[in-house]
Symmetry: C2
Subunit: 333 residues, 2 copies
């Protein structure tokens, strides 16, 4: 690997290789989110679509298709589809989480309202299905419909699992596999499907996306207890305040003595949070070393992601996807 | 028409003819709304699915397919799909409208919360797309994805059009065509498509559903100013309190003198509603005869629905669909 390569972030290198197609994806997104009759729709989506997200999911679709030798243009439609589904999820998540900021900007439901967030999300989902129909592939429709169902299930499960100290690592894995990894996996998988890749390669792409998504979400949850707001667009302790159970806390609860357990029960289960509680939670997390233990889990999933790539054709794109898995975990420490 | 026939409501007669298939639809709905990982999902949906709705939309799909001579079983899947989309719309509408009751029961978001309503609605939509994929028909997927987009557009348009006295009859028609008629039309259309009917017949089915849906919604909006809560499950004046502009008010505003206009502006645009305002609104509606004028519009659309049926095969089912169009309007006066 040249010095020049190591200096650049892997998703920037992917974006450079895929510039032409990503521009087509962006043009398609702008064209398809328009609505003749309801001008509020592009107003709401522009806020999210132009917020400068890394477009990691559509890039995965393009990269997977390209790596499998695809030369048509249906992968552009699928990449736009994947971003629409992601954006709809963000809009609906805004209603749900009462989160105050996303990507460093006010969320759609503060600028607009819950109504707009729900309905515009619905509109984007419907448009994404129309785009899929245009590719003429029932298999793609099945994969992405299924991913949508799994995402919603994951979010519902997260809802019932939050505020409940019985939530263990297995439940946590199921939640993040749904809410995050399902779309990463489907984004990669449909890239292989549209390219007509062998089932082995399609499975490998799916496994890569699944493991990458899990690793990505574990790191995201880790940063919530130790990242800085500038880098993540989130405040430290958002999950704590929302009483979500993520890996650093689940592991700390598992290692808690009686007094610590009473603390977690008060702040997470009963939601009785006072000044200094976040600092105490951070101290307990530090005492039990659960930040590092969580980082180790993320590393394991990143290794699994890289291992899955072995079944795929060697080359620049595979190298970048390998580096991407490393980079996701390198965001911490 | 025999005396026996006239004694029964047309949707009950349709339900009788379609008993076996409707039972299959209900079984499929129960099976597909289950979720292994998120037991809250069937808890929320059972509330709506078992609330004793008339299942008019799935019945239209079955009736259309049967009328066009279909003998397979994909129409059962499509009927369940249509009901899932409808239920998802109700769930998302609950978040949106802050309406206190639906079908005479508390809405899902009072029993549960906004979170559940949004996410479970998303889950049902995703499941409905999986069901469509199973039919193997891209055309069906296109029709119902498009209907979903038009429904969301209609709801967004309703949101921007409410509280605005500039909302005229053309905008109102566009709103109800989206939020109600689009799914009626698609429900009928896919029944013809799955039966392999000729394009003429498919178009006629679509036109029937569109006109029936428009007529149905006009009557619904009319009942909001004059029905009784027991029959409709809604309180008189719900739309007034939510400052929605529906036909009886739009027509009254168009005929208003200066003082009346000031009244409408205060209660609808500024939302400054005081005791006695609903009664005054009802008096203005009565003074300008806009209940009857609205009923006349509903009648015109019912006639259009019946006229569309001319292109379809004669027989019992066609007769029942004709009677259904009459019955929808007969709900008033």
């Amino acid at each position: 690997m040249s010095l020049d390569k190591t200096a650049q972030k892997p998703h920037d290198r992917l974006a450079a290789v895929l510039t032409v197609e990503m521009e087509q994806v962006n043009a398609l997104i702008r064209a398809r989110m328009a609505s003749e009759h309801a001008p509020r729709i592009p107003e709401v989506t522009a806020h999210l679509v132009e917020a400068g997200g890394k477009r990691i999911r559509p890039m995965l679709t393009l990269a997977a298709a390209r790596m499998c030798g695809y030369s048509g243009d249906n992968h552009v439609k699928l990449a736009a589809t994947v971003e629409f589904i992601h954006t709809a999820t963000l809009l609906h998540d805004d209603v749900v989480d009462e989160s105050a900021r996303r990507r460093g900007r006010p969320t759609a439901n503060l600028l607009w309202d819950n109504k707009s967030s729900v309905l515009v999300g619905d509109y984007l989902l419907a448009r994404s299905f129309l785009l899929m129909v245009e590719t003429g592939s029932l298999r793609v429709l099945e994969i992405l419909s299924n991913a949508s169902a799994v995402i919603a299930e994951g979010e519902v499960l997260q809802m019932t699992a939050s505020r409940d100290l019985r939530t263990n690592e297995a439940i946590y894995l199921q939640v993040i596999r749904g809410k995050t990894a399902a779309l990463f996996a489907a984004a990669c998988e449909v890239g292989g499907v549209v390219a007509g890749a062998s089932q082995d390669r399609i499975d490998a792409l799916r496994d890569y996306g699944d493991a990458l998504g899990i690793s990505f979400q574990i790191v995201d949850d880790l940063l919530d207890y130790g990242g800085d707001a500038l880098a993540t667009g989130k405040d430290v302790g958002d999950d704590f305040r929302e009483r979500k159970l993520t890996l650093p806390v689940i592991k700390a609860v598992a290692r808690a003595d009686e007094a610590e357990r009473a603390f977690w029960s008060r702040v997470i289960e009963r939601g009785d949070q006072r000044e200094g509680d976040l600092e105490h939670a951070l101290a307990l997390i530090a005492r039990h070393g659960t930040m590092e233990a969580t980082r180790q889990e993320a590393l394991i999933w990143a290794e699994r992601a890289k291992a899955a790539l072995a079944a795929l054709p060697e080359g620049d794109i595979r190298d970048m996807l390998t580096d991407l898995a490393d980079f996701v975990v390198a965001r911490v420490r």
